[in-house]
């Protein structure tokens, strides 16, 4: 396979990045840039919109247009931006706290309005930037810095939420499946209207350490073992489902 020239989209002079060793954010950014290179976008026609959190620093490492808003509000900013500049291709890269906690209202309404944007949710299962607190997407019973005895609240399926809110395209995978990740990102970007890809990604520094999953390698294999194809997941009973994440396409 010829690797497309994704480096032109990278602000190489800004490296090294701030992410921890073994973090999945770099994998996600590279997957996005590879897709952009495959689709051969010109820098002036694309924009990366981010929020606040580890993944949202990605805007500092791209050479093309970037917008970084306030925590949770990315999709509300993009709503105005897209009305003013409908031809601009906008990709959002936001974290689980950003989109499912503080920004959930905007996410639902952006999907309901069918805002033409591809939302890539980097779900590292906790708030990494602030030191590993649980988010609405953190699985029940997880250990985090604000749930030392295990998270007692239920977790949320952000993909199903996007589905009922009217999203055109919804898929979930993990950075472990890099080919699938690129494919979903490509499909999401190519689709007109609101699309969302949830990307399960390792945060070895906090989630991995608190839950004794291990280092970067172990976290990657943990995601491999913890994810099952959607079809298989639906055949499981409710109790069994609790131990797994489904992956695949929910809406297309």
């Amino acid at each position: 396979m010829v690797i497309p020239d994704y480096k032109k989209y990278l602000a190489v002079e800004r490296l090294p990045h701030i992410w921890c060793a073994g973090c999945g954010n770099g994998i996600i950014l590279k997957a996005l840039l590879l897709v952009l290179a495959e689709l051969n976008f010109r820098p002036g026609e694309i924009l990366l919109a981010t929020g606040i959190g580890c993944i949202s620093r990605a805007g500092d490492y791209v050479s093309f247009q970037r917008f970084q808003g306030t925590h949770g509000r990315t999709l509300a900013f993009v709503t105005g931006l897209k009305i003013a500049r409908p031809a601009l291709k906008v990709f959002c890269l936001i974290g689980d706290g950003d989109c499912a906690a503080i920004g959930m209202g905007h996410l639902i309404h952006a999907a309901r309005r069918n805002l033409d944007v591809a939302v890539l949710v980097a779900n590292n299962l906790n708030y990494g930037m602030t030191g590993g607190q649980f988010s609405p997407l953190t699985p029940n019973k997880s250990l985090t810095s604000t749930s030392r005895a295990g998270k007692i609240e239920a977790s949320l399926d952000i993909c199903r939420l996007a589905e009922v809110a009217g999203a055109n395209y919804v898929a979930r995978t993990s950075v472990f499946y890099h080919g699938e990740l690129r494919k979903y990102i490509r499909e999401a970007i190519s689709k007109t209207g609101f699309s969302l890809v949830e990307i399960l990604t390792p945060c070895p520094t906090y989630y991995g350490r608190y839950n004794k999953i291990g280092g970067p390698d172990e976290m990657l294999t943990w995601f491999r073992d913890k994810t099952v194809p959607l079809k298989k997941y639906l055949q499981m009973d409710k109790q069994e489902q609790k131990d797994f994440f489904w992956r695949g396409k929910l809406v297309e």
Binding site: A11, F67, T79, G80, L81, I83, A84, L88, H106
Partner: protein, 356 residues
Amino acid sequence: MAGEKNKVQFLSGNEACVWAGIHAKARFFAGYPISPATEIAEMCAHELPRHGGFYIQMEDEIGSIAAVIGASLGGLRAFTATSGPGLALMQENIGFAAMAEVPCVIIEVQRFGPSTGIATKPAQSDVMTTRWGTPGDHSLIVLAPSGGQACYDLTFAAFNLAEFFRTPVIVLTDAVIAHLREKVTVKSEEELFLVNRDKRLLRVTGLVHDSFGYSSDVPEVAGELITRLAQKIEGHQALLPGPRFYGPESPEVLIISFGISARAARQAVFLAEQEGLAVSLLELQTLWPFPEEEIRKMGAEVKTVLVAELNRGQVQREVRACGISPEKVRGINKIDTTVITPREILNEILTVIINN
């Protein structure tokens, strides 16, 4: 029809703000219903599409100001309108607009607060909220019209100032001005000067950033940025609408006021003149940055300064901070949902002059 230009119209303050926006070529409005500002949203929903513009009703005020900022970055002149509780929600992104230097206009129709307060009654108690509501050292512009014509003129000016200074501008009205119908002369295209902006590549963040739009935590970069953001406005006060002066040039008593209270003060100056008293009014059109120079100069020459406002003394504190001796400054304040009347101001003038 009020949209026709160069005609004398009979408009409410809210309507005058909208026409000013349309004549300033504002083509994007995002809002959320809130009394007593709702008519602005309603009218924008009706009129903007007829002028090639867009209206969007967002899920809350946080989203409204965010969409306005997004549209402005996308090249449209954009505005929103709200009242106290909505302004509270907008504060985070007003700070963002200040930090990321995004032009936008916010019309704030003050109502009685705090909290839900009384939605239909006036107040002037958001003076400090407009200035310091968003955290961090920053500067922005707040204009205070005192009637329909001023709503039109100052809202139009707000769009130009927002573009010129690349900053959020708040037009601070109140529940009375918003609904008061008055004669307003709208201008023709030739009479209106518009500041245009260059289209650039978008590299925007609310983080401390260098001149290329990349985030930075270098102390020099942070220090220079924050200083520049404040200085670019505070160093150019002469470009902002100055205070209006009514009455004799060397008065014994100077009233300082703004918004609806300034209307009563204007009448009080007239009543005082009939009583043979030397009383003048300094009506502030720009509240922030505070017009210190003018107030210091005028305040030094008079025996008494009366500050009339519908709050517990927010502008009065600023007047004192200008260096006018504290015993000279007195407030005329009302915090019971009713407006200050000319009579009440005149009574205060008489008391003061007898004591002098």
